[in-house]
C-alpha cells in the first residue's frame, strides 16, 4: 500500500459527501446527526448533496417500497465512483417490522451495501458509529473501490 494510496484513501474518507436518500423516520435521525448537537460537520460531511452526481455516500434512511426500488437503483447508478452505501435502520437493512408485499425486504436486494446500521430508528450516535466504521474500513483497505 503506497503512500499515494494511503493519501487518496485519507482524502476520500475526510470529505465524503452524503447523498440525501431519507425516505422515512430514519431521515429525521439523519437530520439530527447533521445538525449542531451530533455534528457531522466535524467529519466534513454536513453538505448533503441533492444531486447524486456530486455525492460519494448514499445513506438509505428508511423504508424502501417496491415502487421506490427502481428509483433508488437509478440514483445509485448515477453516482460517480467511488461510492459507498450505508443502510440505515431496520427497514433498510431487512425490511424491519414491515414483513409484507409492499416493501423491499432489505435494500441490499437493490444496491450493494457496505455498512448496515441496526435500530428503529438508530440514534445519531449509531449512525455516526456506522459512518466512522465505514471510514475505518476504507482506510484499512477492506472496501476497495
Amino acid at each position: 500500500m503506497t503512500t499515494v494510496d494511503k493519501a487518496a484513501k485519507w482524502a476520500r474518507t475526510r470529505s465524503m459527501f452524503p447523498a440525501s436518500f431519507g425516505l422515512a423516520c430514519c431521515a429525521i435521525e439523519m437530520m439530527a446527526t447533521g445538525v449542531a448537537h451530533y455534528d457531522l460537520a466535524r467529519f466534513g460531511m454536513e453538505a448533503f448533496r441533492a444531486s447524486p452526481r456530486q455525492a460519494d455516500l448514499m445513506v438509505v434512511a428508511g423504508r424502501v417500497s417496491q415502487k421506490m426500488a427502481p428509483v433508488l437503483r437509478q440514483v445509485y447508478d448515477q453516482m460517480p465512483d467511488p461510492k459507498w452505501v450505508i443502510s440505515m435502520g431496520a427497514c433498510a437493512s431487512t425490511g424491519g417490522m414491515f414483513n409484507n408485499y409492499a416493501l423491499v425486504q432489505g435494500v441490499d436486494q437493490v444496491v450493494p451495501v457496505d455498512i448496515y446500521i441496526p435500530g428503529c430508528p438508530p440514534g445519531p450516535q449509531s449512525l455516526m458509529h456506522g459512518i466512522l466504521t465505514l471510514h475505518d474500513k476504507i482506510m484499512a483497505g477492506e472496501i476497495v473501490n
Partner: protein
Amino acid sequence: MADYLPIFVMFLLAGGFVAVSLGLSRLFSPHRPTPEKLEPYECGIIPEVEPSQRFPVKFYLVAMLFVVFDVEIIFLFAWASIWDSLGWYGVGAVLIFTFFVVETLMYVWKRGALDWNVHRRARYLRDELEEVA
C-alpha cells in the same frame, strides 16, 4: 512588453491549475462509465422524452432588426470620424441615409414588431384583413 508580464504569469497559473486538477483526477479517480450512469439525472426516473429545444420566434425578429440597425450605426460612425472634411455635402448625404433607416424604424414600430405584447400585432393584422375584405 514588460507591462504584460503579470497577465502572462496569470495565464500560466490558471492553465497550470486546470492541468493539475484534471490530471490528478485522471490519475486517481476510477473511470467506470455505464449506460445508466450516463443518463441525464431526473430524480431517479428513467427519462422518456428528450426536452424540447424551442424558443420564442420573437427573438428572430429582434435579431434581424438588430443587424439592420447595427449596420446603420457603423455607417454613422464612419461619417462621424471625418465629418469635418465632408462639410455640408456630407451632412446632407448622411441625413438622407438616416431618414431612410428611420422610416424603416417607424414602419417596424407601427407594425408592432417591437412589441413583446402580441396583441397590437394581432390587431394590426385583423385591421388589415378587414380592409381587404
